[in-house]
Symmetry: C2
């Protein structure tokens, strides 16, 4: 699966909404607009606030405001804000004593390149590309079977050809995880496969 948490997914949606509306938006308002439960939206906003992606304005007439345009926010930053550092394995570098299998582990200290590659890939994509203005015309995956037609690497992106995989990958998947559906609690809830 290699999936990231739902909260991250929500964060992307909320941020996109925030930019779409412009100015200051309250958490309840954003919840209404996105269909995500209010407490959850608040939770996401709080995390984003800590990461410096949004600014929280307290008091009456308060709300949240984008610190930067979506174009200047790499996806990796959102993931870090919500999920924490990007790393595929749980074994922390410095904790040498925690892994009992260290002596027999042939991949010890070898995940770095992998993590770096993932980080680079996620940094090369900005939120603006995820929340593209054109509203998903064809509903599903764009005509060109695999690699996207083109999407200029974000500003934070290092050098690294943008996602052109040629492997016999599994069927492409995309979309939102499935927010809990608006207030009234809609029936279907994406069981994700």
């Amino acid at each position: 699966m290699l999936r990231l948490s739902k909260l991250t997914d929500y964060a992307v949606v909320v941020l996109a909404r925030l930019e779409a509306e412009g100015g200051v938006q309250t958490a309840p308002c954003l919840a209404l607009a996105t269909g995500i439960a209010e407490p959850t939206v608040a939770k996401v906003l709080k995390a984003l606030g800590h990461a410096g992606l949004v600014e929280g304005l307290r008091g009456a007439r308060g709300g949240y405001r984008l610190e930067r345009p979506l174009r200047a926010i790499p996806l990796s930053e959102v993931i870090c804000a919500i999920d924490g550092p990007i790393a595929l394995t749980a074994c922390v570098d410095g904790a040498s004593g925690c892994c009992e299998a260290e002596t027999v582990c042939p991949v010890r200290g070898r995940w770095d390149p992998v993590n770096e590659a993932i980080r680079a890939a996620l940094s090369a994509i900005s939120l603006a590309e995820l929340a593209a203005p054109r509203p998903a015309a064809g509903r599903r995956k764009p005509p060109p079977a695999q690699a996207g037609p083109d999407f200029p690497p974000a500003q934070a992106g290092p050098e690294f050809p943008p996602a052109q995989a040629g492997l016999n990958a599994p069927p492409a998947q995309a979309g939102l995880n499935a927010p809990p559906a608006p207030p009234a609690r809609l029936p279907a809830h994406s069981p994700a496969e």
Copy 2:
């Protein structure tokens, strides 16, 4: 976190062991060598067998054998074998009706490039690089010379520099997740090789 399952981690270790030993190895033997519980090793091997990465030989004198050298196995294939298709979001492609927030979801159908980027990154790294013969010295990008004279970009890997990211990433993390550490038997059994 964005972490992958422990099973995948185990799979890498087991595969590395399989190549280190060469020939046919039984599941119990691999369990002994890696320090992972036998049933778990068997489970991993079974999954790898389905994916065509190893071949299971039944009957007495049976065991498992690598179908391909590690050099020809991209990391993405192992992840797919154990964790399933690589996709950051759970929203399945065809399930258009399951996501109630479709109408308000601004990122609908926009995760494809991200998934492709991740896939490409993981396909560019072969298991041979993860299970490099030398323990763990360099830490950073591996010098071209490894075990073999050269490793072609796996069989499925596109062209794409092997994991060289330059972003200000959080502290590097690496290593094995931490196998259950043989409880009573085999205290840190056989050496790395």
